[in-house]
Amino acid sequence: MAAAEKYARADEGILKAMDKPGRAYLAGLGLTASLAVIGGLLWAYQIKNGLGVAGYTHPISWAIYITNFVFWVGIAHSGTLISAVLFLFQARYRTSFNRPAEAMTVFALMVAGLFPLIHLGRSWVFYYLIPYPTQREIWVNFRSPLIWDVFAVGTYFTVSAVFFYVGMIPDLAIARRCRDGIRKKIYSVLSLGWNGTQREWKHYNMLYLFLASFATPLVASVHSVVSWDFAMSLLPGWHTTIFAPYFVAGAIFSGTAMVITLVVPMRKALNLYDYITDDHFESIAKILLLTSLIVSYAYIIEFGLAWYGGNVFETELFRYRALGHYKIFFWIMIACNSVIPLTLLAKKLRRNIPFLLIVSLFVNVGMWLERFVIIVSSLARDYDPYAWNALIYRPTFVEAGITLGAFGMFFMLYLIFLKTLPVLSISEIKEHM
């Protein structure tokens, strides 16, 4: 096949995803949008009635909302790993995943950013977190991990959004050429008038390299900062030095699982078999397996530290985590994150795409539960034994609904992305043809 024909086929094949949506797509969009609206309404209900409608019970004052925050920030990480770190390592299979992964990063951060606000009793004063000159002449406390979070997550969102957009500029120029009417006009503006001259490519390549280099440390730093929200406290189960690497590995693990969860159905629905192959999935499955092993190692180390440290509260907390009120979640977490991914040691299973999708779903569940277990079981066993068995935390319908709403919002944004922007990096795919 002549090169020009191959390139035209790539344009057509990938941009075909942006054609008029079918019924299944509209049904999916309707369902996810409904969930998002329900979540929004429940948040409004909570704002009206106060945080009492959430299931917080002393001493458990952080629960599902913070679980969701950590989960969604973690999901974002794999996008940066795939788009930036694998770019620097020149791993070719990244071109099959980088665009969906970058979109996932941006949307996951949009969802994550809402949870600290939802968790606030008075959401409308969230701007107290932002350093600005006030009439009280007092500034934010830069020694507080919550302020580090504002800077870390804010930076991460901005850099990820810029990286996502920059990667799309040459593809938006292709979309502009292949579309007409109002869409052509929109893509013309979004592509900034990109032509593909030598000068543009030279500066573009340098920009991409630098953005990848700037984004790479963020993979390690952002979730480290999130982990310090916990580790800087004195609570047993939280106050430990392994939290930063443990959280970073967990973030990449959960994000990789979410990439698989999103890309497997996307490949089938949009018929992208020519561009996303089983070899590519096998490579990404290896990342999942490796990070699962690191996370499992961290679980063992946590118990080891508690046992070897000899602190009675720490020892009791870890006994409680495995055998106490929330033990079911702990053991489901172990099964999902440490046992089931071990099946990927078999090459045959790594290349079995439906199986890989199922594993990724288990990991998503397991990683959400991991954050729940860390947060809730640690708070339930703090330094106040009188409160230990007083009340068991149970999420209310408001918390459950807002959590489902977050999933709805995330998948709704992803579905909108599929129909409005190029789903794969067309110019990079052509480069490797």
Partner: protein, 143 residues
């Protein structure tokens, strides 16, 4: 500007480009347009290295300085001891400075790219003619 020369294949295009340079066409008058990045073009037509990296350096440096200056100066403005830590606590301030290094560095690199590539280009946004998947060589007329 001479009539553009179009090529369907990358190799064909590179061969024509090399031949043109061999035949003595001044390199600075040759312009190329390609559907994807072709590193060989820079070998045939060497251009000075992209100055985007300078924007990265200046942005990142400004971010670090801003991060430290902002945290230190605002803390000194209200010198209250919080949690038994010094008013100027460099380890936590480093986290803010690090985040701003990345933030300012990225945004400044993006700005540098736009300036140096002369984007957004209103003329190109409104242009009817696009070259699609073809490789194009344009030779600017000499004076």
């Amino acid at each position: 500007m001479d009539t553009p020369m179009f090529f369907e294949e990358k190799e064909e295009f590179l061969e024509a480009l090399r031949r043109m340079v061999r035949e003595g066409v001044p390199k600075e008058r040759i312009r190329t347009i390609t559907p994807f990045a072709v590193p060989e073009v820079d070998e045939v037509l060497p251009r000075p290295r992209s100055r985007v990296r300078l924007f990265a350096l200046i942005g990142a440096g400004t971010g670090t300085a801003t991060g430290f200056a902002f945290t230190i100066l605002t803390s000194l403005e209200w010198g209250i001891i919080v949690g038994g830590k010094p008013v100027v606590s460099l380890p936590p301030f480093l986290i803010i400075a690090f985040a701003l290094t990345i933030l300012f560095g990225s945004l400044s690199t993006f700005l540098g790219f736009l300036l140096l590539s002369r984007l957004p280009s209103i003329r190109s946004i409104r242009a009817k003619q696009v070259y699609g998947n073809r490789f194009v060589i344009l030779v600017e007329k000499g004076t």
